[in-house]
Point group: C2
Chain length 503, copies 2
Amino acid sequence: MNDSLKFIYNQQKELSTYSGISALLGWDQMTYMPKLGIDKRSQQNSLISRIMHEKIISNEFWNHIKKLVKPNNFDKLQIKDQIVVKRLYKDVQKSRKIPSKFVEELSKTTTISYNAWEESRNKNNYKIFSPHLEKIIDFKKKYCDIINIPGHIYNSLLDDYEEGMTVKVLKEEFNHLEIKLTQILNKIKKCEKYKNQNNLNIEINSKKQQKICDFIISKMGLPRDKSRIDISTHPFTTSIGNNDVRITTNIKNTKPFFSLFSTVHESGHALYELGILKGEYLDTVISDAPSLGMHESQSRFWENMIGKSISFWKFFYPYLMKKEFKINNKINFDLLYDYINQVKPSLIRIEADELTYCLHVILRFNLELDLISDKLTVSELPQLWNEKIYKLLGVKPNNDKDGVLQDMHWSGGNFGYFPTYAIGSIYAAQIFDKLQKEIPTVNNEIELGDFSNIINWLKINIYNKGRIITADEVIKNICGENLNSEVYTKYLKKKYFKIYDCN
Amino acid sequence: MNDSLKFIYNQQKELSTYSGISALLGWDQMTYMPKLGIDKRSQQNSLISRIMHEKIISNEFWNHIKKLVKPNNFDKLQIKDQIVVKRLYKDVQKSRKIPSKFVEELSKTTTISYNAWEESRNKNNYKIFSPHLEKIIDFKKKYCDIINIPGHIYNSLLDDYEEGMTVKVLKEEFNHLEIKLTQILNKIKKCEKYKNQNNLNIEINSKKQQKICDFIISKMGLPRDKSRIDISTHPFTTSIGNNDVRITTNIKNTKPFFSLFSTVHESGHALYELGILKGEYLDTVISDAPSLGMHESQSRFWENMIGKSISFWKFFYPYLMKKEFKINNKINFDLLYDYINQVKPSLIRIEADELTYCLHVILRFNLELDLISDKLTVSELPQLWNEKIYKLLGVKPNNDKDGVLQDMHWSGGNFGYFPTYAIGSIYAAQIFDKLQKEIPTVNNEIELGDFSNIINWLKINIYNKGRIITADEVIKNICGENLNSEVYTKYLKKKYFKIYDCN
């Protein structure tokens, strides 16, 4: 039994080492790799992925795990080992269902699909991508057959990102969310302030934007000796080691606060990664987030509930108005706060405001459901996309580039992933709601740029749970209830009605 | 037989993929890794090294190679396959001599020794490092016993870096080199110009230095889509993929031309790496340099024979004097050219001038010989170092930090490595001598900043040979003779006697 324990811990440690290597390959590809390095990088990526998959599904590993879960043995384990073994059993059992050949073929297909998607998007020609999308959907349907989680076929996809989540639960939450968001949006649209809102034409050059990002990172307490920030096309966070978590941002001169909010967002992910349960669980499957939705809750919490709050701007406005930034002095606090919270239905998800963001996600969720359950064909998709986005947001894409081709997710086979963005937003609101009740002085602290109590609270209530319990259980422990979009829409209503002077 | 061929090519390709991954881990560690990422990085490095070693010495690999070298089979192979198989047989046979346990223990020892060396150097306390150095020398002696190349025990160490090189050959060349360099140096020391030479107090800020480095990289034709330059403490070159070769430099405000010359030096390595034989040999053991000395010849060639030549400065001086650099205009061409070629015996190898550089190497070579053959103990080493450097260069270290502790090589177990620096310098002079004869207009071309013919000549005569033949054979093919320090000392004598107005 001791041999088995030793083996499974060694195996997890090696997997964690590979995972860091894989993260570095990805980070470098998105930041510094010379353009023509891509061919060799693909080989490097796929070699490491293959080896990791082989390690996960190896018979030796599985036999040790099976030995340890046998009741007679399991009962003799320490609590910590029981937690690890239980989690491993579930993870490895699932991975072993998927034939290596399937993994390999899917990987090849998505590499080709990604290139096709890029070309399709650049040339604004959906037909280049559509045959690949069809193939990927076939793969995903086969995948669902293999995994075979009860209920809706799409549950098997959801489970990869949000363990235990079902279409039944999401449909109910998302329907409610859609209705409420639409009500709030319609009301705001009728307000005078909405009709008269303008762009502020603020310009902050790239050097100053970087300075602002550095400032906010240090304020949020990301340690420099364990993290760094770089530039990439799409901002992301990655863990190369338990003491090496990196974020990226993008500097856009026409959108001077994009870098700030993306940095706050990614720093939320990074604080979670660095703070997540380690100690005796270091390099085990437990030292991880319970779900992508929970991970996203951490970034959305910081980006929206903190970063776009009035308290935060009371702290941040004076810093920004320092003469080193030379921002137009006519922009007073109210103007700026309203500006960064402007509601503006638009075509592109990643540029959406806080209020309308989830409507973009709901659109994709419903389309994915229909595609996976054969209620919608790939050729019908673009038109339905355009109709639905118009119905939801009142905007019409002029082309597929700004419509169905805007996100890369489907080309990578990531069906079931989009919902986690909305789940994260809802969780974030629930967490913020509870936090405000437990730390009544929190808004004063934010006004002072002091986030230490917030981080400490997150550490106790979320980071320290690692993957010992599910996301669902984490939220229930904190808030006394599961995913509840009502808390989120209440928060949005209160915030945005105030901003737009609606009653 | 086809199965065996397929296997050995796949194996080499996988090894090459791992090698790129390993290079990326190293590059990142030296450039961007957050400080506390080091523990996990060590695990990542050693995992990849272990797997590579296991792959190289695997019985399956060896059996396929052995099958292919059997005369009946070998004769039926295509020439290209014969070259690969022959090379592999030699490489793998050598690697298989070394037990995995030995590799692992040496690796652990050097990791600990490196840390001890760093501490020892920082605290200027040799005694912290000396017990570790003793262990490493024991390891190296055991290694020589295992490899057991005929002749001097140290031959087994030399062979790892410079295949076929022997103590006998090197002793003769280095003795000659030492005598000649000393003669030239002594003569120069008596010249008026030497006695009156001064520091020029040129200041070029870090941004301008970077601009200069970028300029020189593009002039040397390093393609941006296949390479990049970054900053690290010690400049280096690394290949992450056949189309992804990276160099680093270091910006020192007190030594404004350090970044220029290190960039030219590393670009020499990088041009070689990018240009080296590929095609049907891509991802095989043949697509590599035949020795470290040959690799170093490429960097020294560019740094010294080109970069510090009068022709180069005729091209470079006007660029440097552009008003954007705002360099003191009183510095005329002659002053600057003399300055960058100042002979100045000093304590630190990596800061040495072109003339005295090899004396630093010879010192280390002789000490290594004595240490490996038990003629010198680790405790006697610092004093002997100080005596010898004084004898060679007339300078006395005030402490071990500027003496025996200055280089990290020994802490990493790299005995037999130092000589390649001098071998590279000698080769470079031999190559330059032949190049000037074959392209009589070469100095005019350098004056115009046009290096295309030089690179083309190097491609034909060196890059394209890959590892098909040994370094020795490459030089003999080009110059009609083997390693010959006489060519080098003649070059130095001519250049420096002119600069110092000696007769």
